[in-house]
Amino acid sequence: MTGPEIETLIQLLAKLPGLGPRSARRAALDLLKKRETLLKPLAEALDLAAERIVTCTTCGNLDTIDPCSICAGAKRDVSQICVVEEVADLWAIERSAAFRGRYHVLGGVLSALDGVGPEDLSIARLVERASASEVKEIILAMNATVEGQTTAHYVTDRLAGTQVQVTRLAHGVPVGGELDYLDDGTLTAALRARRSV
């Protein structure tokens, strides 16, 4: 039906998250229809990304420079490190503009069933960074999933030998949320984590 070039394109697109074989075929066709406006600019962007983007050897963020612009940023607070599972989580916190410290990307969560152990995550590097004298607080911002919480517990344990204060994100009522719609688990967590006003 189609040449091997198109087939290869479809197969590669189908490996992207959220795309099945059918949507990959549609994406490929769309790219080929918009050759000048989409296909070529995309190819150039991909090429550039492959060439220039590197993983920050300090925190695990993705950037064109190493250390990344956050680690190298003169205005960032060096006393706080926020630990996240993936770069996507780092981006989410950056979008909020609520945190001015630096980050540490673990690169996943502990999962014995998936064969992901502490040596596969950037935990030793985190302990090393936490031992630096300017670091005062480590904020654990793992997902509130079973694996995320297991990993948070593990990281806390590994940081026990350092002088830093270890904190974690609060769990509770979402901003703009109605109590009536919250599940029992979230409400219980919110009640437990209440504070005086």
């Binding site: 059918r22 014995a112 502490p118 593990y154 599940d183």
Partner: protein, 395 residues
């Protein structure tokens, strides 16, 4: 029809208000049913027909209106209807219109075979909109069932009794399902680590902390519900036997003696001390997964497993009816009762008492049986259908 009832009889109308009932059930490619649409009123439903006609399949379809794997615990793909000799099957769907004191709501659920993936998923839609998950169903409807598979509940190993207890708890605390799933995940993770011979104590600590937190939450919810059902069942005198319900297990005993936080510490300590044992034996020697439910026939002071088949069935019914009464007290409406081949085991007095109790509760019960005559006591109080070769006809 429902208007006529409310006009002539006030008690019936108030019972209907307290009833959550399916008034329309539609099946698509569900086991033997290619397509079925059943319009009913908010009253009990009796399905009779020969073996293999499709009665239990209807109850199974209804059981998917609650979270979980349905009353047969089948894999989703097993339920897809398959033409004889065909390689492929069409994914199934169940839709229902539910009527309750809060109005009407459309519930839909079905098997979604993801494109190009081997994983299968059950999707849920509420009033036409995708729900966040199966858990959302529990806000609209609670369901209780009794099937012939449960006849051996008191004779088998403890895992099926634990599942039974957990289903009772889901009715009161829908979030219990999440706790159970989380507990099982961390326990499997710990099992794998121990089996791999990992000596990473901090990782094991983290997993055991999860087992302690989720396990104690599970045990506390079970204890609360079992206590409620035990006293609710004891209040009732009638032809049904009064059961005594006791949870037996280390964690359950500790919860009776000390605060939950102290129990968590104790579970953590026990798991840490038991690592080498668990590594050799597999599993975990301590935790909420070792709880058992001990049921005693009070009047005879006899454990349920030593009772006759009919007595065991009656004890189970006592527990389920106690749950239905408690749920009605708490939520203002009785749960849907799915009673598969239940009445055949009961003597005449118990059968009559069961029918009266169903009507008193204002519960929409779906009862199946092979013989019409067994349900004579429900004539005029229920809708009767004949099920034959995957067709359902009113009688």
């Amino acid at each position: 029809m429902s208007q006529a009832v409310s006009a002539v009889s006030l008690p019936a109308a108030s019972a209907a208000e307290r009833r959550a009932a399916v008034v329309r059930l539609s099946l698509t490619d569900f086991r033997c049913y290619a397509r079925l649409r059943l319009d009913i009123e908010a009253q009990p439903v009796v399905l009779t027909g020969p073996n293999g006609a499709g009665k239990t399949n209807l109850l199974e379809a209804l059981s998917f209106l609650s979270p979980g794997r349905g009353l047969r615990r089948a894999r989703l793909a097993e339920i897809d209807r398959r033409e004889r000799g065909a390689d492929t099957a069409a994914p199934w769907a169940v839709a229902a219109v539910l009527e309750s004191g809060r109005g009407r709501v459309n519930l839909g659920t079905g098997h979604e075979a993801a494109e190009g993936k081997s994983t299968e998923r059950r999707v849920v839609r509420i009033d036409g909109h995708p729900a966040r998950g199966q858990k959302d169903l529990a806000q609209y409807l609670s369901l209780v069932w009794l099937t012939p598979d449960m006849d051996r509940l008191f004779m088998e190993g403890s895992s099926s009794r634990r599942r039974f207890v957990d289903r009772l708890v889901y009715g009161f605390h829908p979030d219990h399902a999440g706790e159970v799933a989380a507990y099982e995940t961390v326990m499997r993770e710990r099992g794998r680590l121990l089996a791999d011979g990992s000596a990473d104590a901090a990782w094991l600590d983290a997993l055991e902390d999860g087992m302690a937190r989720h396990g104690v939450a599970i045990a506390a919810a079970r204890a609360e519900v079992i206590r409620r059902l035990d006293s609710a069942a004891a209040e009732r005198t009638g032809p049904f036997p009064v059961p005594r319900l006791v949870l037996t297990g280390e964690v359950d005993a500790w919860l009776g003696e000390m605060p939950a936080v102290a129990v968590e510490d104790r579970v953590r300590d026990a798991l840490r001390a038991g690592r080498s044992h668990d590594a050799a034996q597999g599993g975990a020697a301590c935790g909420a997964h070792r709880t058992d439910l001990l049921v005693t026939y009070v009047a005879k002071d006899r454990p349920a497993r030593d009772c006759s088949t009919g007595e065991q069935k009656a004890l189970l019914l006592s527990i389920l009816l106690a749950m239905a009464r408690e749920l009605r007290g708490e939520r203002g409406e009785a749960p849907l009762l799915l009673l598969d081949e239940v009445v055949a085991h009961l003597d005449g007095a118990r059968r009559a008492a069961l029918f009266d109790e169903i009507c008193d509760l204002g519960a929409q019960a779906w009862l199946t049986g092979t013989d019409d005559e067994l349900f004579a006591g429900l004539r005029g109080r229920a809708r009767f259908f004949r099920v034959l070769d995957a067709t359902v006809m009113p009688r």
